[in-house]
Amino acid sequence: MSQVAIEAHELGKSFKLGMGKRGYGTLREALVGGIQQRAAKLTRRGSQKEETDWLWALKDISFAIENGEAIGLIGHNGAGKSTLLKIFSRIIEPSTGYADVTGRVGSLLEVGTGFHPELTGRENVFLNGAILGMRRAEIRSRFDEIVAFADIERFLDTPVKRYSSGMSVRLAFAVAAHLEPEILLVDEVLAVGDAAFQRRSLAKMNDVAKEGSTVVFVSHNLATIQALCTRGILLERGQVIADGPVQETVNMYLRSLERAANQDLLERTDRDRRGWKESLIRRVKVQDVVSGEDDVVVGGRPAKIVIEVTEVLPLMDCQLTVSNSLGHPVMTLDSTLPSPDDVRDESLGPRLECDLAALSLIPGRYRVDLVLRGNREIQDGLQAAAFFDVEPGVIDGRPIPPSGLDGDVMLPHVWRMPG
């Protein structure tokens, strides 16, 4: 029996630049381009300009994953994590090298990928099961279990389009949970959507890993990677730059994030690929409102997070995550969850501001990741857009504990004690 589940050997993947993901590439462009190329060939024979038009998303990737290992792929946006996962799941072909995959591969996908709204729950179970790689006999033998798990017995013959979103999620997850892959590939970016689904996906991954299957996990959430994986592979610009125990790799990544934050944000290339880039994040700072200082805040003082952007778009929003020095997310500030006190003010200029009445964090170094939205689309996204230090302080006169062994936040509170 082979001990290796996945062996990558000098894997590389190149994409043609110019025709971006959103460029459909019309027939006219292809015809005109073809003629131009011919003409160019005729005039200056064999000028090889082509190589400059290729982007290497992955280059010389070699490693072996043993049976039963849980691997976390770590790296900036655009480092090639998702591309690598797509090669392992056979969706795309490598351009160079090869990967040997031994065992049945399963993927956890976004809720209801492959669900058809017009089909009934029953029909979708069979369709989705087959899409995820289950045999028909296998689905039939687990059908009752799946239905019971999803708790939709009464709606089995109702088209899924009439399901509540909760019901669809339950059904989608029930099918996925009954998949028994030998190798489970999960890209959190692909599996986004419903938070409940995500939570259950993680639980499923944990189970699968414990049962001895191989798991390859791509996520930005370093905390989940550290919780689930034993080994981390750090990718940067399409190359493996570290491969080892997950803690070491994560630490390396955190250090590289800090280096990236010192760079001019507009020059950074590790932007969220989903972004439309009509407006970019120019600068992010966390300001101590009392001292007016940037990126150093005394704990408990009011603070202001300022996000400067290149362009003002309609309906701008920001989703921001603050993580501690270990990479564990501490809090999320999300303007897409509106409050009546939020203000939209044109005179603000090209910037978004977030006021915190009291930055009740314990002392330490924190990182800000954010996603910028506008025009109903994701515009830009940056990991480690800023770092800030929190100095020892007080909240409501109470000193904030100096170290974060038991949590990173101290909320304002009042005790009542007998005597």
């Binding site: 969706i91 369709l127 028909r136 088209p159």
Partner: protein, 293 residues
């Protein structure tokens, strides 16, 4: 004997003959027969069945008349064509009732046209599947073809009923109908797989197909008989595979006498070429679908 028992390596008895894991090598491929290999298709057969079932089910989901549309569409066209071409323009119909003449051509045509139209969209309609999960993509146009064949079976059956109502009793030629359907299916699958693959890259297909299909309708002897063409052209026209199929349908069902073997033969050949060329093209470009869709 106990010595031999001890000598047996323990893992051989302890390990049950579990599913032997198959190693798949993922590497850059060139040329043909990457995914259209029978072994590969067979290992995904359950998915092929599910996709075909989906396409069959979806075709008339939430329609009041359901599968009756398979015949109602050709009948509606028949009515229009009978009035315009049969009555006003006075187009000949080889001595048959014009309505029946047109319907016998429209039934296989409706299958061909709908397969082309739906099939060419079959990949781009499910972009998220193509970009997120692996399976032999040929199942997408193939599912549309299978759904079309189910339709065609229903409408051919009803066509035979109508023919009988007209008092025509087809002879043994009727046994050729499955062969003719096979020719139409081969041509349709060849063209539709090529179109669906081109559509992944160039969405122009979406605009070209509907009007090309309209044009093709008039290049096929549906509203007129092939006999309007003079001889070398009559035979040559059968390069259009639907010529042999349509004329074959009339001969097989309407008791017209002499068999158009030349037309059927050439059309069968042409359909085979289209099938092989279409699948070969699909096979060549399939590996790039997820990159560009």
């Amino acid at each position: 004997m106990p010595e031999t028992a001890l000598a047996t390596p323990p893992e051989e008895t302890a390990q049950p003959p579990a599913r032997s894991p198959r190693t798949v090598r993922l590497e850059p491929t060139r040329g043909f027969s990457r995914v259209l290999s029978p072994k590969e298709l067979w290992s995904y057969r359950d998915l092929a069945v599910q996709i075909a079932m989906r396409d069959i089910t979806l075709r008339y989901r939430q329609t009041a008349l359901g599968a009756a549309w398979a015949i109602l569409q050709p009948i509606a066209f028949m009515a229009v064509f009978s009035i315009i071409f049969g009555r006003f323009a006075g187009v000949g119909s080889d001595g048959l009732p014009y309505a029946l003449f047109a319907l016998a051509g429209l039934v296989p045509w409706a299958f061909f046209a709908s397969t082309l139209q739906l099939g060419s969209e079959s990949l781009v309609m499910y972009t998220e599947l193509v970009s997120k999960i692996y399976f032999p993509r040929i199942f997408m146009p193939f599912g549309i073809l299978v759904a079309g064949l189910v339709d065609l079976a229903v409408s051919t059956f009803l066509l035979i009923v109508i023919v009988l109502i007209y008092g025509i009793v087809p002879g043994v030629e009727v046994l050729m109908v499955p062969v003719l359907i096979l020719i139409a299916a081969a041509a349709a699958l060849g063209i539709t797989s090529a179109l669906s693959a081109i559509n992944v890259k160039f969405r122009d297909v979406r605009y070209i197909v509907p009007f090309s299909v309209q044009l093709w309708l008039f290049l096929t002897p549906i509203v007129y008989p092939t006999s309007v063409l003079s001889q070398p052209w009559q035979t040559i026209s059968a390069i259009n595979p639907m010529v042999g199929v349509v004329e074959g349908f009339r001969w097989a069902l309407l008791d017209t006498g002499s068999a158009p073997w030349d037309l059927i033969g050439i059309s069968a050949l042409s359909a085979t070429v289209l099938l092989i060329a279409g699948l070969a093209y699909f096979d060549r470009v399939e590996r790039t679908f997820a990159d560009i869709i």
